[in-house]
């Protein structure tokens, strides 16, 4: 009898997972495997975000195009026509829209992920799931808006007859970098925001400041060469330059600045995840 039971128990399929609950001590161990196990939940979070984002709006997803488009018009008028900022020989609308694509994605992903823990506090205090999936999914759900506004860019490219170059194949890489940057900073800010609600008042200011520290309204060639590496510490500088270059073929491919940016993204990502994990152990008690 005992043998039979032992046999059944030793079958790997029958063995149920054992969850061990102990005081938090391994905050540096990042739960990527668990995140993968909960991929369906991340999918549902993204799906929910998209579903409710434009509910009860009159023009719905058109906002995803209208926002960068209007900003592009304003930038073209003030920075371009009035301030005569150099535009790498590109028409101003293309010059600005190609930078606003990643920037608009980044700023909204950042703001959404910052509030992700606080906005889902009822969930966080009532059910278990890897908390990382919240900032993770809010960063991912911004990609849908990105895709919609990208369609508008195609229209502009055709209108201005800008031929694509082979560099266009690097767009996914720069996009990934933008996603990871937003995630890295989002991890920090969402964790901080869960504990210090001040963060939510800081973020709009931060985003505005960050935009001027990134080559959105001007080309990075305006930055003196000897400060260029420092400029690269802002990963969005590399991302935006990269977008402009790979989408239009104009400008210079970001070189050394990219190495600094990528390093910075990794630092942000791992430190952010570690801080997030540390916060996660107490979040249900403080949110």
């Amino acid at each position: 009898m005992n043998e039979v039971i032992a046999k059944i128990d030793s079958s790997p399929l029958a063995a149920p997972p054992v969850i061990r609950i102990t005081p938090p001590n391994r905050w540096w161990a990042l739960p990527f495997r668990e995140l993968w196990e909960y991929r369906e939940l991340i999918y549902f979070f993204v799906w929910r975000d998209i579903k409710i984002r434009y509910k009860q709006t009159a023009i719905g997803a058109a906002w995803a195009v209208l926002q960068p488009f209007m900003t592009m018009l304003i930038f073209s008028l003030f920075f371009g026509k009035l301030a005569h900022i150099p535009s790498l020989g590109l028409p101003y609308p293309i010059f600005y829209y190609s930078a606003l694509l990643p920037w608009m994605y980044f700023s909204s992903a950042l703001q959404n992920s910052t509030s992700s823990i606080v906005e889902n506090q009822r969930l966080v205090t009532k059910v278990y799931f890897p908390r990382l999936s919240l900032p993770f999914s809010s960063v991912l759900s911004g990609l849908v808006d990105f895709a919609i506004s990208f369609l508008m860019f195609m229209v502009l490219v055709i209108y201005y007859r800008i031929p694509p170059t082979p560099a266009i194949f690097l767009v996914p890489f720069f996009l990934l970098l933008a996603v990871l940057t937003a995630l890295g900073v989002g991890l920090w800010l969402s964790a901080l925001n869960a504990i210090y609600r001040d963060v939510r008042y800081v973020v709009p200011f931060l985003v505005q400041f960050w935009m001027f520290a990134s080559p959105v309204a001007y080309p990075s060639s305006l930055v003196p060469a000897k400060w260029r590496w420092l400029y690269g510490l802002n990963p969005m500088a590399g991302v935006i330059e990269g977008f402009r270059w790979s989408l239009t073929g104009h400008g210079t491919p970001p070189g050394r600045i990219m190495i600094v940016s990528c390093t910075m993204v990794l630092v942000l990502l791992f430190s952010g995840a570690a801080y997030f994990q540390k916060m996660e152990s107490t979040v249900a008690d403080v949110v």
Binding site: V18, R20, F44, V124, D285
Partner: protein, 419 residues
């Protein structure tokens, strides 16, 4: 048989309490805003152990209730087991998928339709998409909201929202289910349905840990109970006994005897089994210890039993009592007391020189402890929860061969537990 699926060892949870330091000036507020995220050293604060030194094992298929007054640590314990909050010390091992139901409607979004919310809430509670799709029709018909599936949730009545929420949760199929107080919602009819569903879930070998303040629910669902008090497990054991002890204590603060402060009634018991009635079909003797301060001539003794809904179940009055002062016993023997399982309160009274209308009241006493009726269901196991009387019955009709005896039914259901 008794394979352990939840093993808790030395579990403790500490919270910081007390007010944070007060802001002194705007300057301090500003420095705090910008420096506090980086600084760890705070003024020392008081700590409170919400749970300390908790040890227990739960076997597969058991339904365990956690009882205790507010702040005893029930919900904290459940939250630790559900991995919502971390323990400060100790460990807990859970074998199998864990589902938790600490709130009804977790993850519902008012802008989404009923259909969409079923999927969302299901996913949040830990169901796979395929699993939800498979059970979708069942969930919807359980909630009785078929007609409103494509209506946004915000247009649902609160009752409908509640039904949908519970329907989703009720169809969770984890190996371990943690439930907190959620059955206290909805109308009585639906509560019954939910309780039934939970019972069904348990029959399939799943383990349930259940927190409730409603003792009827605990009694109906749980075989075992842990009584938490001040962050510690005070007692663990069979439901009937433990709830009676718990309710007795809950009462003892408020239950004072009324009368001329004689404190005539000292206690009562059922002989060797204390306050627990295990067989309602045999002769039962209540032993009341009394200490009359004065000689009683043609006195009156009243004895009443109320159920937990304060319904008078039975009452007896005895006239013409003659007693001398001093500690002595009053024995009341009943040929049988066929009550459904539960907790019953005892009320006794003693009058001198006449009955309860004409005599002089010496004392009316809310009997302590409560009477715990821990009898077995006699016919169908579900019968234990219907009505007040626990009476055997036999059915005869054409084509019905076996007549069901008490032992056959009682054996495998509750009698298997010999502790």
């Amino acid at each position: 048989m008794s394979e352990t699926v939840i093993q808790v060892e030395g579990l403790g949870k500490r919270y910081r309490v007390g007010e944070r330091e007060r802001y002194l000036a705007l300057r301090d507020v500003l420095t705090r805003v910008f420096t506090s995220p980086l600084r760890r050293n705070r003024r020392p604060v008081d700590f409170l152990w919400a749970l300390r030194n908790i040890n227990f094992n739960i076997s597969r298929g058991e339904i365990v209730g956690l009882i205790g007054r507010n702040g005893a640590g029930k919900s904290t314990l459940l939250k630790i087991l559900a991995r919502i909050t971390h323990p400060t010390e100790g460990s807990a091992d859970l074998e199998g998928r864990v589902g938790s139901l600490l709130e009804v409607g977790t993850g519902f979004h008012p802008e989404l339709t009923g259909r969409e919310n079923v999927y969302l809430s299901g996913a949040i509670l830990g169901m796979r998409k395929r699993e939800i799709a498979r059970k979708f029709d069942e969930i919807v018909s359980f909630a009785e909201v078929e007609r409103f599936l494509d209506t946004p949730l915000k247009h649902y009545s609160s009752g409908m929202q509640m039904r949908l929420a519970f329907a989703v949760a009720a169809h969770l199929e984890p190996e371990i289910l943690l439930v907190d107080e959620v059955l206290a919602v909805g109308d009585l009819q639906f509560q019954k349905k939910c309780l039934g569903k939970m019972g069904d879930v348990a029959k399939t070998g799943r383990t349930i840990v259940f927190v409730s303040h409603q003792m009827t629910q605990i009694r109906r669902l749980c075989e075992h109970v842990f009584w938490l008090d001040g962050g510690q497990i005070r007692r663990g054991g069979r439901t009937g006994e433990l709830i009676a002890a718990y309710e007795t204590e809950m009462m003892s603060g408020s239950a004072k005897s009324q009368g001329d402060n004689f404190e005539i009634f000292i206690g009562w018991e059922l002989g060797s089994s204390g306050n627990i009635l295990k067989d309602g079909l045999r002769e039962v003797t209540f032993y009341f210890t009394v200490n009359p301060p004065e000689p009683i001539r043609r006195g009156y003794f009243g004895f009443h039993i109320h159920n937990d809904a304060s319904v008078l179940v039975a009452s007896w009055g005895f006239d013409g009592l003659n007693m001398e002062p001093g500690v002595q016993q009053i024995r009341v023997t009943l040929p049988q007391l066929p009550l459904r399982p539960g907790t019953y309160s005892i009320l006794t009274s003693l009058f001198n020189g006449g009955n309860n209308l004409t005599g002089k009241m010496l004392e009316i006493w809310n009997g302590i402890p409560f009477l715990a009726v821990d009898t077995l269901p006699l016919c169908h196991p579900e019968d234990a929860w219907a009505g007040i009387l626990n009476l055997p019955a036999q059915l005869d009709c054409a084509g019905f061969k076996e007549s069901i005896t008490v032992q056959q039914i009682a054996g495998p259901i509750r009698g298997s537990r010999t502790d």
